[in-house]
Symmetry: C2
Subunit: 345 residues, 2 copies
Amino acid sequence: MPSVNPDAAKKFIKRKQLSAKEYIKGILDGDIIILSRAVTLIESARFDHQSLAQEIITGCLPHSGKSMRIGITGVPGAGKSTFIEALGMHVIGKGRRVAVLAIDPSSSRSNGSILGDKTRMEKLSTNKNAYIRPTPSAGSLGGVARKTKETIILCEAAGFDTIIIETVGVGQSETVVHSMVDFFLLLMLAGAGDELQGIKRGIMEMADAIAINKADGSNVDKAKMAQAQYKSALHLFPLTESEWEPPVKTCSSLYNSGIDDVWEMIMEYQKETEENGYFEHNRRNQAKHRMVETINEVLLGDFYSHPKIRNQITTFEQLVLDDKKSSFQAAKELLDKYYRSIKNS
Amino acid sequence: MPSVNPDAAKKFIKRKQLSAKEYIKGILDGDIIILSRAVTLIESARFDHQSLAQEIITGCLPHSGKSMRIGITGVPGAGKSTFIEALGMHVIGKGRRVAVLAIDPSSSRSNGSILGDKTRMEKLSTNKNAYIRPTPSAGSLGGVARKTKETIILCEAAGFDTIIIETVGVGQSETVVHSMVDFFLLLMLAGAGDELQGIKRGIMEMADAIAINKADGSNVDKAKMAQAQYKSALHLFPLTESEWEPPVKTCSSLYNSGIDDVWEMIMEYQKETEENGYFEHNRRNQAKHRMVETINEVLLGDFYSHPKIRNQITTFEQLVLDDKKSSFQAAKELLDKYYRSIKNS
């Protein structure tokens, strides 16, 4: 048998290139394969892919937005995958369609992740009303955020009315997820106190609810105790802008108990915040915020990656640390170099 | 009696202009009047004042840093002024020298504030080992932060070994204060829960300690109860980078009880964090951070105040809100306009 060069073989199964119009039609028709190919374009670094992707997104935008966007975070071991599987199957049972995305730029998962995510969520991954898309491969947090947000738009245009975004509660990605979802759920384990060590400070205050997972078997009592403790802790937090008081629930993804309760709570949140206007207010703020964030990322990125700056910033930092220059003086000199240089470029 | 034009009158009491060298010498000699005049230069928007101020700061830098910098926040009514007065007098009794600065860019206090602050802290303001400097008058938060940080440098060079920075716990200024102090104290009142409504989310997680003030008379029991509640709530928070577990104290500024306890705790914190290296680590991080913050503020400020951008940003925001453009597309177009314009300027 002759050896096969897989790259050469790929050429022969090259897919027909679709136009933006064909992509948009396919997505609006709910064609999962076309949706997947469009998301791949979003994730591509190639310029022609990017401009095609932007055209598709613009076409899908007017058909997007009609979903409940839920962010789920928790330390590794909190059982996020089984929880999402249980919640996803529950809402599919209610006639909804679920897309599961993930943000985790710190992870080294890349090509293996599709298989990984699909194995982790066995039932969801084979259900026709679910779409699982793993973390876009490496990139800046801003880049990953952009890709995830654009993927949400396409998923919504394809008729998914429940978007679940998973993240690991240990990095900066929670703030990013928080800025693109309607509801942010923190998944915890019983044994209050200790397991929080892995959660970044500030995440608890972003949560719209805490669910204590694995409340089953001999764990039930511990979970109830943790629930009481978190309840009294959350009570000390200032009121949220949404006027929603974050509840603390217990559940077991394994035994499928309490999952319905969590879902009803999310629906209750949607109802309340739609009625008091916060839901729409928050989405509009998020959209404006995203524009500003993108602008800021480019402006700062251009400065710090500029050849005139990149080489000197450590030197200037050291001068500041040695009290040779004030922070402000150092900043001013670097800025002068930068502006002179871009004006002359 | 002829009417007097106060501006014309001012000309005749014009003070002798000092050189940077004279300013530096005066400050290092602990001359409060010269210190005050230098701080006024820092706060001035005039270009010649700014360049003189920068020269003075550079000269004072090598003599700065040898103080304990304490940030104090709390909602209006928590009794910050009386607390600072009590704490300040306590540490002066221990042979220290105290400078009290304030950050509160949201307030409309400006010219009246010197009198205001001095009245609020009657004993401190007449003590020769205390220096009270009110909020620099209006300006951007970044600008106020810069002025406050530069004032700290001068105060330290003038021999103040205890710097207290006061802020109102309702705005964004806490993050700024937190980024320039060694210890961050949150002042609370008894009646756990309710009074927190005024505190911005996230502030509790920044605190190195909570002190429940006004624990006197019939309030003592309530304060003790609040103390227990906050203790158990803080216990749920993740460990701080400094490895310091934020204590909860009760005190009464009015009856001067518990103030010594708060001070001992601050000294304990200094000892512990100096030993584990966090104190120095944190200060170096703050200095680097400040340089980066200043750079970022200028880069973003230049963009958003640019005539080509300022007029169009609302239009673009509206296009995003109406789903006519994606946030990313809108950002890209604005950035293109900006870069084209500064290259051609």
